[in-house]
């Protein structure tokens, strides 16, 4: 066992030396606007191209950061994207439901923004196909910033600084919704969290405690009682180093047994129209999960302990429950019994200890991601 880990670490420390990775393509060099390559750990997948029509540029990211923190993009000038996506909370807001203008409230929990280049389909229900598309929706959503997008364009066009910023970033001072989306998406792509304790362990820089190590192994293992393999079954949906959902189409959306058939939220079904997608939601990245409470699409759980208890002993059977949850237990499964993982209290503690290794202090304090107006 130890042999395998050592061998693995050996490789990763080599991989980690080539830290930067070039994914830029189709860029057209603009004067005074450097094309950037996304800086990320080399063990993140390297085969995902940048959108050809929105290469990452220095001025684009700079503009996107301004827009992310721009309160003019809300109807009454009271909030910005950053109001619900606060850096110190790994770009969440600590609330069950975010507050929009005029005290309006939504019905979904603000998602953490990290490593978005490695995910596909945005929002809990997957309704945006691209980050560019996602970036615009909260501006016009009446429960959020409630600003008609044409009005947003007019306000920025009338601003003393923005036309020039758009000129630098996109070679036109004619602001459009499309360019606003592109700029914000560029900034969001730079929000890379890859320097947690888990990352340092991957790079072979530190060792995890025995509890964290045990938690990691449980996290990534699908249990099989017939082979005496114990597992927490987390990695079936929160894949690999990114601990986020499958990028492949809609495979990264799962029904995780929060409700019975009578109470299923539409979730992905509101996008696909398929009854079998009811109650399916995006598997979010678990990076920085200790900072992003409350949990689930509707923020129903306040602590990680409650989340583990849900998966361990409170799964609600419904007709779309993910089969990898349905068929996962650390004890032999008997027909007609409730679905239980049968993790011990110390195993749950170990998994939570591992989840805490995903906290990335540099990410939440990186000045490049902070409010540029302060």
């Amino acid at each position: 066992m130890q042999y395998a880990i050592l061998n693995y670490l050996g490789c990763l420390s080599v991989c980690a030396m080539s830290w930067a990775c070039s994914t830029g393509e189709g860029e057209k060099p603009a004067p005074n606007n450097l094309v950037l390559t996304l800086q990320h750990p080399d063990y993140f997948p390297n085969d995902i191209p940048m959108p050809a029509d929105n290469p990452l540029t220095e001025k684009g990211v700079e503009l996107g950061r301004m827009l992310f923190y721009e309160k003019q993009l809300s109807a009454d000038g009271s909030i910005s994207c950053a109001s619900c996506h606060q850096q110190s909370k790994a770009f969440t807001d600590g609330l069950q439901f975010s507050k929009g203008v005029n005290g309006a409230s939504g019905d979904k929990n603000a998602m953490s923004l990290a490593n978005l280049h490695w995910t596909s389909r945005f929002f809990w229900d997957g309704r945006a196909k691209t980050l560019e598309e996602q970036a615009l929706e909260p501006i016009s959503d009446i429960r959020e910033m409630n600003l008609e997008i044409g009005e947003a364009v007019d306000r920025l066009q009338a601003d003393k600084d923005y036309p020039e910023q758009f000129e630098l970033a996109f070679e036109t001072d004619q602001i459009s919704p499309e360019l606003i989306g592109k700029a914000i998406a560029q900034f969001m792509r730079t929000l890379i969290s890859g320097d947690s304790k888990f990352d340092q362990w991957i790079k072979g820089e530190i060792e995890l405690s025995s509890t964290e190590q045990a938690g990691m192994e449980l996290f990534f293992t699908h249990p099989d009682p017939s082979l005496q393999i114990r597992g927490g079954n987390c990695g079936d949906c929160h894949l690999g180093f990114l601990t986020s959902g499958d990028r492949n189409g809609l495979l990264g959306f799962h029904n995780n047994g929060l409700d019975n058939d009578d109470n299923l939220n539409q979730g992905l079904a509101s996008v696909t129209g398929k009854n079998s997608d009811r109650g399916k939601f995006k598997a979010p990245t678990l990076r920085n999960i200790a900072l992003t409470a409350p949990y689930m699409h509707d923020g129903r759980f306040e602590t990680l302990e409650e989340v583990l208890d849900h998966y361990n002993e409170h799964i609600q059977i419904n007709s779309n429950l993910d089969i990898l949850i349905l068929e996962a237990s650390n004890e032999p499964i008997k027909p007609r019994e409730d679905i239980k993982l049968h993790l011990s209290p110390s195993e749950k503690e170990a998994i939570i200890a591992f989840l805490h290794t995903l906290t990335d202090e540099k990410f939440i304090t990186n000045p490049k991601f902070s409010d540029p107006f302060k």
Binding site: M1, Y3, A4, I5, N7, Y8, C11, C15, Y43, F44, P45, M216, E217, F220, T221, H222, D224, S226, L227, I229, G231, G235, L239, G240, F241, L242, D246, N248, G249, L251, K274, S276, I317, S319, L321, I323, L324, L326, E327, P332, I333, P335, R336
Partner: protein, 248 residues
Amino acid sequence: MKKLAILILSIIGFTACQNDDKDQIPAETEVNFSFTHLFNGEEIDLENQTYTLPAGESFTPRKFKYYISNITFENSNSGASYKIEDGYFLIDQAGKKEFSVSLPTAEYDQLTFYVGIDKARNLSTDQVGDLDPNNDMVWNWNTGYKFLVLEGEWNYQGSERAGLIVHIGNNNPENEQNFKAISIDLNAKGKSLGNKASINLDLEAELSELFIHPNSIKIHELENTSIMGGDVAIQVANNYQEGLFSLK
């Protein structure tokens, strides 16, 4: 002047043709593999399509993926062979179902490839080819890769909702019994390698074969609907060795 040009071009053209026909054997042959996955003869659909397993159970597949590795071409007369080094390819019904390899041109009439990852590479997790641990195919950090994954919804005679989870891998580094060689006679299908610059090998996998040959596997007779190791996994592995793949 124009006529002269045409004359010269014709001569060049003529000579080029002659070269192609006789002397120009390419130094390398590119072999393009593609895989089609069938269920009872129809191409499988992971979007709510239900099929009948050989034992009469109903099955709605959601995921089917596996590794192909250790590809070797052989000349059955001389015994000469060429192995593709570091060739590990993840074939995924929801993703990539093709890949290409190159080898020095020679007469080969037999192909062998393996389903799974050899012992030497299985636990090293060193990310050659498609062995990226982010691909949802590592069992966990210590136990190596899943070789073949089939998951879906399973039902038998109105039973309660259940998932059929087939994860075949090799948890035990001391045995390789689920790492299986598939042998294909290229000659029989007129697909021998020789002097061609490229050749397409279109393989079909009939998934019902995973449950019948040589081992008949009736899921409703098993203790549960997960096959992730032990004797039943070995039976499935024998089945993918024997009957799963055929060359079109």
